[in-house]
């Protein structure tokens, strides 16, 4: 049924880009990817370059920050955009991933394992996925906004546990977390402390892999089930979609991607403590996903990048004698309102969502 539907609606569902031949699409994608890898050097483009790069914060570091925000946005997009589950505590998974890495690798950890960064990743990912399932199991039966408050509570509990238990060291934190492996031709490690460019490339590579994975999932049976759940959970259930199972899947995959972000972040950061995992962080990522266009990969990427880029870019800009950086979140808040009011479907909406919105607009009740 769904395939037939897909064919008849196919042309309308696809945009200009989607109508191009496969070869053209692949070529464009490859070009975009190459351009993304060249981003650290954007500052050397005359005229435009210096306007793009950040002041006061190193440009490759700002790019790296963007890369893990994008990663988180992609993960949250699976939960919110695809499965339609409102998650206000997504940073919890990021924290679990980062803490697993820290526990396994840092000399400060009570485990005293001091593994290499790379070996800690599979364990961190596995534990975070389990955490996702453990959180989802009892709570996914809740609807909409109840789920939102429970996930928010989950993130707060993670933060409080991280702050208040001795094992997780609270604000004392874990230091000397090893960097990713690899040596350059000059014998120096590729992933040093002074240059963030390799970390950005690493982040970007992971992002590309995640995009490929998520895109395939979205087009599989799982993705279609998510769509059905998002549109009408009861109807989906009646039609034989095992809603609970697929919701749990969405949570686990979201947790997996969040943990990826957490481990890469910990590898760059060298030092982590409980002060980072604030509630505002989750809310910001959610704002990014919806602002960019929830349910659409390109939208999530743009949104994730913007929430990191806008505040960083406002550093070192003066207007009338005051540094705009002090006002960054006020400006940012205003930008969010503006974007949502002008484009409630997001900056780059999924075409399906945009069409739904058009339908909804027609249904507006008389005011």
């Amino acid at each position: 049924m769904s395939t037939a539907n897909g064919k008849t609606n196919g042309r309308a569902m696809r945009g200009l880009f989607g109508r191009q031949p496969v070869a053209v699409r692949v070529l464009v994608m490859v070009l975009v990817a190459v351009a993304a890898y060249m981003l650290p050097y954007v500052g050397s483009i005359p005229l435009i370059g210096p306007q793009i790069i950040t002041q006061g914060i190193d440009w490759p570091s700002a790019l790296f920050n963007m890369s893990y925000y994008v990663l988180l946005a992609l993960g949250l997009n699976v939960v919110v955009g695809y499965a339609g589950l409102l998650d206000l505590g997504y940073v919890g998974f990021f924290a679990v991933g980062a803490y697993c890495t820290a526990l396994l690798t840092s000399p400060d950890s009570i485990l005293k394992t001091e593994w290499a960064w790379l070996y800690s990743i599979p364990i961190a990912l596995a534990i975070t996925m389990v955490a996702g399932v453990l959180l989802g199991w009892p709570t996914l039966r809740l609807r909409g906004d109840y789920l939102a408050i429970v996930t928010l509570g989950f993130a707060e509990i993670i933060r409080i546990v991280a702050t208040s238990t001795d094992i997780l060291r609270g604000e004392r934190g874990f230091s000397s977390i090893p960097h990713p492996p690899g040596e350059g031709t000059d014998g120096k490690p590729i992933f040093g402390v002074a240059d963030a460019t390799p970390y950005f490339w690493l982040g970007l590579t992971v992002i590309i892999l995640v995009i490929l994975g998520v895109r395939n999932l979205d087009r599989s049976r799982v993705g279609r089930s998510w769509l059905a759940i998002r549109e009408d959970e009861e109807a989906a259930e009646i039609m034989g979609v095992r809603t609970f199972k697929y919701k749990l899947w969405a949570f686990a995959i979201g947790a997996f991607i969040g943990a990826l972000g957490g481990t890469i972040w910990a590898g760059n950061q060298n030092f982590i403590n409980s002060a980072t995992f604030q509630l505002q962080f989750s809310i910001l990522v959610l704002a990014g996903v919806v602002m960019g266009g929830s349910g659409n990969i390109a939208g999530a990427i743009l949104g994730g990048a913007l929430i990191s880029y806008i505040p960083d870019r406002l550093r070192g800009i003066e207007a009338g004698g005051v540094d705009l950086y002090e006002y960054r979140f006020a400006i940012f808040g205003f930008a969010i309102i503006l974007i949502m009011v002008l484009r409630p479907q997001g900056l780059i909406p999924s075409r399906r969502r945009a069409m739904e919105l058009k339908d909804r607009e027609k249904e507006v009740a008389p005011q």
Binding site: G56, I57, S164, N270, N273, A275, D323, R343, L347
Partner: protein, 387 residues
């Protein structure tokens, strides 16, 4: 279709707006003065915005004053000031630190003020080899990380805790003490030392959430009251301490609140009210501002319009240590770092000499107790001698 177009234009307009606001950059290029040992930059690294900015601003003002005075004496902009805002946050620090390192003219750093951001930023400074002198990062473990460029112009938490305990025991003669902390690395570390030094005098203890995460302390207040304690030692910062003092007072508790240098800020009395804050004792591994001499205090007040704050004088000294080194021709990172290891500088707040790990020489450590008076100012009470 027209609507779609209008909306697309709207979207583009938003992005344009953001890009436009981004376009008006601060002009960073400026003429560099020539002269012997000139044309270098000294950097301040620490919080200038955000909730932790008070201490950062104190420090950056003292730092900038020293450099301005030096330049005036030279008659040109010999040494430039570069300021880097870390917001005092460990997750922000690395990116900002890397942008500092990228500026090859910077040969010395005053900062980072806080211990958490030091952990995240110092590895980067260490790799770049830029010497740093922190006027206020007191976490004990910082000096044992093997960073060659790390120095601090202040005693670490191991000095302050015993001093606070000695004050409670010898001066206050309190027999029942309640110890609480805000779970920050700084506050919890301090409270643990105080607890172990006071031993049986500690009747009960509690932990609170950090600054900005808790406003209602009624459970803590209740515990303090029913413990019968006559003194409360709080390991934490002035933000929470002001709230706690106010709520203790309005619950009718008459005991004394004590704390470390994190509470030495007029913000405490501003929040709690002068009458309620009066009598609060804070220890600080720093000298009273009067000791810095009128010259510094007047110059500071003239330049910034506010009296010198906690660690302004130490930052002033730290900058002057660097300036003296540069004046003597130590104009590379290596030479300047070498110079720091042998320096013996008598500043306004203290005399500075660093051990091989970058700690302040133990014989030079001073801890003073300060007391909030009825006007809401913290004034020097006495120097604490630890026997």
């Amino acid at each position: 279709m027209r609507q779609v177009l209008a909306r697309a234009i709207g979207g583009v307009a938003i992005i344009g707006l953001l890009a436009g606001s981004a376009a008006c950059n601060k002009d960073t290029s400026s003429d560099t003065a020539t002269g012997s040992n000139c044309g270098y930059k000294l950097a301040f690294f620490g919080a200038l915005t955000g909730s932790a900015a008070n201490l950062g601003v104190n420090i950056s003002q003292g730092f900038e004053l020293a450099i301005n005075q030096y330049n005036e004496k030279k008659g040109s902009t010999c040494i430039e000031v570069a300021k880097f805002d870390s917001q005092g946050a460990a997750e922000v620090a690395p990116g900002v630190a890397r942008s500092l390192v990228a500026d090859k003219k910077i040969i010395g750093i005053v900062g980072p003020p806080f211990s958490g951001e030091s952990e995240a930023a110092m590895p980067i400074f260490d790799e770049a080899g830029i010497p740093a002198v922190s006027p206020s990062a007191t976490r004990v473990s910082l000096s044992s990380k093997g960073w060659k460029v790390f120095h601090r112009a202040v005693a670490n938490d191991d000095a302050q805790g015993p001093a606070a305990a000695a004050y409670i025991k010898d001066t206050l003669k309190a027999e029942k003490v309640f110890v609480a902390d805000d779970q920050s690395a700084y506050g919890a570390g301090l409270a643990d030392v105080v607890k172990s030094k006071l031993g049986a005098a500690v009747v009960a203890s509690d932990k609170t959430e950090g600054d900005g995460k808790q406003a209602d302390f009624s459970a803590l207040v209740q515990k303090v009251q029913s413990s019968g304690a006559t003194a409360l030692f709080y390991g934490g910062y002035y933000t929470n301490a002001g709230l706690i003092r106010k709520q203790l007072t309005s619950a009718g508790w008459k005991g004394v609140l004590l704390g470390g240098d994190g509470m030495k800020d007029p913000g405490l009395s501003k929040a709690a009210g002068n009458a309620s804050a009066a009598g609060t004792i804070v220890t600080c591994p720093c000298s009273p501002p009067e000791a810095a001499g009128d010259e510094f205090n007047t110059a500071f007040k003239t330049k910034w319009g506010v009296p010198a704050g906690t660690y302004s004088d130490v930052a002033y000294d730290a900058a002057n240590i660097f300036l003296q080194g540069i004046e003597a021709g130590n104009t590379t990172h290596e030479k300047l770092n070498e110079y720091l290891s042998t320096v013996n500088y008598k500043g306004i707040a203290n005399t500075y000499k660093f051990t091989s790990t970058g700690e302040l020489d133990p014989t030079l450590i001073k801890v003073w107790a300060f007391k909030f008076n009825e006007a809401g100012e913290n004034v020097a009470d006495q120097e604490i001698k630890i026997s």
